[in-house]
């Protein structure tokens, strides 16, 4: 573990402290979803990855089992500090949220009855959904996929979001279709 793998060279050097602090921040601020914060911290603030690399990495994290942001922690941790890095990042993104949630759970009965709190939560939940939609928009604008990409992405949105089809099968079919389309494009365009 002490000598850095040259294979990880495309990610700038990240100290363990920075790794922990960044993922802690994502977990802590990730109300209603961590993904908008993951993109903001990794792409805008720390500049570890560009939007395109981030989208590609999240793509991998989505198709693997497990929460996508936990998978993202595993991979970015592994790329910078191997298995130890994965543990640091996963612990950081889960620890504080789990602790906070247990505190919330202890007070939930009292809080849930309070109409003002409910109103505030309703407002914040609506915005949290918007942050996730905005993240998708931003990735779309910054990566500008070709038509074939727009078609697979659009099909994923319609099938999972609107038609509520089972995610697993949608992913399997669209991975095959997406890879097939890329392969055809490379063969005819190369």
């Amino acid at each position: 573990m002490p000598r850095p793998e040259p294979a990880y060279a495309d990610l700038p050097p990240i100290t363990r402290r920075a790794l922990f602090a960044s993922f802690l921040k994502m977990g802590l601020l990730g109300f209603g979803g961590v993904l908008p914060w993951a993109r903001r911290v990794i792409v805008d603030e720390r500049r570890w990855l560009g939007d395109r690399e981030f989208a590609e990495l999240i793509g991998l994290c989505q198709v693997l089992p497990g929460p996508n942001v936990v998978n993202l922690s595993v991979i970015i941790g592994a790329r910078t500090h191997g298995a130890v890095g994965s543990l640091i990042a996963v612990a950081a993104i889960l620890l504080v949220p789990v602790g906070l949630m247990l505190v919330i759970a202890a007070f939930y009965a009292a809080v849930a009855q309070d109409p003002l709190t409910r109103n505030a939560i309703a407002g914040a939940s609506a915005a949290a959904a918007g942050l996730i939609l905005g993240t998708a928009m931003r990735l779309l604008l910054h990566t500008r996929p070709p038509l074939r990409g727009l078609l697979t992405g659009g099909a994923a949105f319609v099938a999972v979001g609107i038609l509520q089809w089972p995610l697993l099968w949608v992913i399997v079919v669209l991975i095959v279709a997406g890879i097939g389309a890329e392969w055809l494009a490379r063969r005819s365009g190369a």
Partner: protein, 177 residues
């Protein structure tokens, strides 16, 4: 003590098994978690499960954390830790292995091709999860406006999302949502 250990072991095995099928994250297998926790194990009622889900929405962090709450409900803080580790451990290990495998193919044009195919798919799925959440959250025109405002702010500005959430919370407090 013995009974406690047995319950913890059951939590661990149930969630470890769910972990490896959780493609698309925990929200994708929520119905399956419900089946195990309410129907098979009888750890809680359906209404209690819905309450836990609502609490999980209040806390920051990955939405996977509803499993920590299930563990907490069944076996306290230890249960929460066991459930979280069991639900994230196997999938994280699979991800770690998959990453090393992908890393070895880093120069291969096949990997670049697969990545190009995955990126737009990921964007479509993120859009779908935002849409699903918005459908649940937007019960009034005001809430719908807050969702649109938040989406536009994130897509076209670099305003810190904390402000978006705070403003929306205050707007909600004022009865706007």
């Amino acid at each position: 003590m013995h009974a406690d250990t047995q319950v913890l072991a059951e939590i661990a095995t149930r969630f470890a098994a769910l972990s490896l099928v959780a493609i698309g994250g925990i929200n994708a297998i929520l119905p399956e978690i419900h089946r195990v926790v309410v129907d098979l194990e009888g750890w809680m009622t359906s209404a209690q499960f819905a309450d836990l889900f609502a609490i999980a929405q209040l806390a920051p962090g990955p939405n996977a954390m509803v499993v920590a709450l299930v563990g907490w409900k069944v076996a306290g803080v230890t249960g929460a830790l066991v459930a979280t580790i069991a639900a994230c451990g196997p999938s994280s290990l699979a991800c770690y292995i998959a990453w090393h495998w992908a890393d070895r193919l880093r120069e291969s044009p096949t990997r670049a091709l697969v990545q190009r195919a995955l990126a737009p798919l990921a964007i479509g799925l993120i859009l779908a999860s935002g849409y699903t959440l918005a459908r649940g959250a937007d019960r009034s025109p005001g809430a719908f406006a807050l969702t649109l405002l938040a989406a536009a702010t994130l897509a076209w500005t670099r305003v810190n999302p904390v402000w978006v959430l705070l403003v929306a919370g205050v707007a909600g407090l004022a009865g706007f949502a």
